[in-house]
């Protein structure tokens, strides 16, 4: 088993395989060092960022830069940079804990995030030795800051449709860049921009561009709905001369960099959302305990408790998914022998591109849900700027848009799965065939009750059924549409939703199972209870949504008897016994109210 635990699972394999809980990384597995790192970050946020919150929201970029430098002194900007280039070369769990802790401090976190993530990582993973040596030490220490310029006014989701151009100067020493980049985070103060442009209007490529280059200017600050502490501007390039040494990666291979970096960005975004959700729960439960109506604290009303329980459960699920993916990345990177840079590391991380997209979509929508309910708990004052929940509500919305819109990420998920299946990396087709035979044999589909001593036996079974539902409707859709599937966006997005729900439930369930197992071996037992209860409620709610999506897919494909036959199969797969989620949610809410914060 020890050897087993070191082996990272293949991306997407959660759809087919039953995973041993011992193999899944959970927040209960943080090491003492990782906790100290989170604590240092938290302290920085509490003592230096939050007290400046108002001024940061008013876009005092000098203050932003000062705090960024301070973050640099503490080492918070160096996590993902290898030691050889002045960084710390930390594992992704540590780096994720920093990201999560920073989001408590509002959108200053995005100034850090864009710098250490999409700004710096292109050089970490795709820079040559000279570029890394020239740029990384200053970026890791906080002497210089980075930004990432991919989007243009005419190309957002369709990133490869960029119009910015690069042409080689007659003396062959420079690329001359022209174009306009849109919505560039950190543009107000960044020293280094990763700019995508097409060489000769054709070959999509990435360049490292210094702010000091003549011809480089930025537009006025965009007036945004939220994340106001973060700078967003156009980047305008007029005959900017970029030394040929600053071409990042090979000419015409910019898309490899762009997509790998976005992928990591999605993962970081998901982890960041976890921090945002925890902050929103804290603000909401505190308010609910203090606000009195009808002679009692509103926290005593079951409808408020239901909201707090739902908020807590979504946060638990998101946290379970995001850190599971992180742990898998770390194991995959460790298998490379601890080399945390270069294209091979990027490839290792890309193994989990599907999980990163699932995490991004799930986390951004969970955060929206949590802040929305948070505002509701606050009532009228939730709509008033004095209360932090108002800012959280506005700040949340962007997460569904950047790092690939949730529509784009949804479309990517079935696409990635099919590719993996075609390449034979993932046995989706054989599994679908086996299921087909099982269904035809008309046997008893619902597996037996499982181990009666297992507190999660029913939920495990639900999960197994959910995986079958995916295979069943997925295979039906592939057979039905064949090559035309690409145009069936509604079906693809619904399939993606099922995949995301499965990954979410799988991650939450494995985490709770690990807590039970640990609790038993530690002779405790009570610590896991909350997690088990959350999974009991959540598994059924997830199954209802999966069922709804599956019906929608089937009804869009078939009609009449064919449809009825398929729906009959679906019903056999999605049957389950309800639990008393009313009572369970009250119990979960009671814990949130007692602790005045998110409880896992």
């Amino acid at each position: 088993m020890a050897a087993d635990q070191d082996k990272a699972p293949r991306g997407g394999s959660f759809l087919l395989e039953d995973v041993n809980p011992a193999q899944v990384f959970t927040p209960e597995d943080f090491t003492p060092e990782q906790k100290v790192i989170a604590e240092t970050t938290r302290r920085f946020v509490d003592e230096e960022v939050l007290p400046n919150g108002e001024q940061l929201e008013h876009q005092d970029w000098d203050l932003t830069v000062k705090l960024l430098r301070r973050a640099g002194e503490l080492g918070l900007l160096a996590a993902d940079v290898p030691e050889a280039y002045g960084g710390l070369g930390l594992d992704k769990v540590s780096s994720s804990l920093i990201t999560e802790a920073l989001t408590r401090g509002g959108s200053f976190a995005l100034s850090v995030g864009a710098h250490v993530g999409i700004g710096t990582l292109p050089i970490v993973y795709f820079g040559n030795a000279d570029q890394r040596a020239r740029y990384l030490p200053a970026l890791a220490s906080g002497e210089k800051f980075a930004a990432y310029a991919l989007t243009e006014p005419g190309s957002g989701s369709d990133a490869l449709g960029a119009k910015a151009t690069a042409r080689l100067s007659p003396d062959g020493r420079h690329y001359i860049l022209n174009g306009t980049k849109q919505f560039i985070t950190n543009a107000a103060f960044a020293d280094v921009f990763i700019v995508y442009a097409k060489i000769d209007g054709e070959h999509f490529s990435a360049f490292i561009v210094d702010r000091s280059s003549p011809g480089l200017t930025t537009g006025p600050e965009e007036r945004k709905m939220g994340i106001k502490a973060s700078s967003t501007r156009q980047l305008i390039l007029q005959d900017v001369h970029v030394p040929v040494e600053n071409l990042l990666g090979d000419p015409g291979r910019g898309h490899v960099i762009a997509f790998n970096i976005l992928n990591i960005g999605r993962h970081k975004l998901a982890v960041g959302c976890v921090g945002g959700m925890k902050a929103a729960i804290e603000a909401s439960v505190r308010y609910a305990k203090q606000r009195r109506q009808f002679q009692r604290a509103i926290a005593e009303f079951p409808l408020i408790q239901q909201k707090l329980a739902d908020m807590n459960i979504r946060t638990f699920v998101t946290e379970s998914m995001a850190y599971r993916t992180t742990g898998d990345m770390d194991r995959e990177l460790a298998a490379l022998g601890g080399s945390f840079d270069g294209p091979s590391a990027a490839r290792a991380i890309a193994e989990y591109a599907l999980e990163c997209s699932a995490d991004k979509v799930y986390a951004s929508e969970a955060l929206d849900f949590v802040v929305d309910e948070g505002v509701q708990i606050h009532g009228g004052v939730g709509y008033i700027q004095e209360y932090p929940i108002e800012r959280m509500y506005r700040d949340s919305r962007i997460n569904r848009i950047f790092e690939g819109t949730n529509e784009i990420n949804r479309l990517l998920i079935p696409d990635m799965l099919l590719r993996k299946a075609m390449r034979g990396e993932l046995g989706l087709f054989p599994a679908a065939e086996a299921l087909q035979r099982e269904l035809l044999s008309g046997g008893h589909l619902a597996a037996d009750g499982g181990d009666p001593a297992d507190p999660l036996a029913a939920e495990r079974q639900l999960l197994a059924q959910a995986k079958k539902v995916f295979l069943f409707v997925g295979a039906s859709a592939v057979q039905k549409y064949m090559q035309a599937l690409e145009g069936e966006q509604e079906t693809l997005a619904a399939l993606a939703d099922i995949v995301i729900e499965i990954y979410a439930l799988d991650s939450a369930l494995l985490r709770a199972a690990k807590a039970v197992w640990r609790g038993e071996s530690a002779g405790a037992g009570d610590s896991a209870r909350n997690q088990v209860e959350m999974v009991r409620v959540y598994a059924r709610e997830a199954m209802e949504r999966i069922d709804a999506r599956a019906r929608q897919i089937l009804a869009g494909m078939e009609e009449g008897d064919a449809l009825r036959t398929q729906l009959a199969v679906l019903r056999r797969l999605t049957r389950f016994e309800p639990v008393n989620s009313k009572a369970l949610k009250r119990a979960i809410a009671a814990r949130v109210i007692a602790a005045e914060k998110y409880v896992s």
Partner: protein
């Protein structure tokens, strides 16, 4: 200078205390290095930085204490030791364990926090000093070394006292003694390579039954909030007067 610092991991003071099954629940609680111990560690590290030497930190308790020790190592301590126990010993037992550990080496200076934010007895430091037969000054606010003596100050409610103490001696740190540094990430990573020794009570030649508490916890409950409300009545002038009187009673008792 050979310096020993006694530390403990405690609840973050921002945490809400939840009593469950007659004890304070540790589920979902964020633990930190006891804030007063931070001053103690910082002082030890400053002395080392100025005069050279070595700083050892030691804790008694559960596995989770490792995080507090790692924090102290990241702040600049050189070595750490965890004497493993289930965390149920009271000050009497803990002091005996810490003293036994201290006797294994020779230390010029010993530091502890003036109290922990959980137990809050302020006894552990003085008890250890008593066990070891060394002088102790509690709750110091200033520390300097002058030759083989330490000159320390403490706040006496209205005036300060300066004391000159021969070494070895034990001092407990009060808030304000210094500005504890953050454990920066590079230092956290360096701390990972510093030695952390794990010991059992037997390793220190101690029998647990002889350490058991002289106190017994009879009950554990959350103190009810006593919030008094009084509506002031009368004309605005009368209300203002009543409010001022009320406030004066708080600001200037008697």
């Amino acid at each position: 200078m050979n310096i020993l610092v006694f530390v403990k991991q405690t609840f973050d003071t921002e945490e809400t205390v939840v009593v469950q099954g007659g004890r304070v629940s540790e589920d979902n609680v964020r633990f930190v290095l006891n804030p007063y111990d931070e001053y103690a560690v910082e002082q030890a590290v400053q002395v080392k930085e100025e005069f050279g030497g070595e700083v050892t930190v030691v804790a008694v308790g559960q596995e989770r204490m490792e995080q507090a020790l790692r924090t102290a190592l990241a702040m600049g301590a050189d070595k750490a030791a965890l004497v493993e126990d289930d965390g149920s010993l009271d000050e009497y037992g803990v002091a005996k364990v810490l003293a036994a550990f201290a006797r294994r080496g020779t230390y010029d200076l010993l530091f502890a926090g003036q109290a922990t934010v959980d137990g809050a007895s302020a006894q552990t430091g003085p008890r250890v000093a008593e066990e070891l037969g060394v002088p102790v000054v509690a709750a110091i606010l200033r520390f300097t070394l002058e030759g083989d003596r330490a000159v320390v100050e403490r706040d006496m409610e209205g005036y300060s006292e300066r004391l000159s103490v021969p070494l070895p001696a034990l001092f407990t740190a009060q808030q304000g003694l210094n500005e504890p540094r953050y454990p920066t990430l590079p230092n956290v990573m360096k701390a990972k390579k510093k030695p952390l020794e794990r010991l059992t009570l037997e390793d220190l030649g101690l029998a647990r039954e002889r350490l058991l508490g002289r106190t017994a916890t009879v009950e554990c409950f959350v103190a009810p909030k006593t919030r008094q409300r009084r509506m002031l009545q009368g004309s605005p002038e009368a209300q203002a007067q009543a409010l001022a009187d009320e406030l004066r009673r708080f600001v200037l008792p008697d």
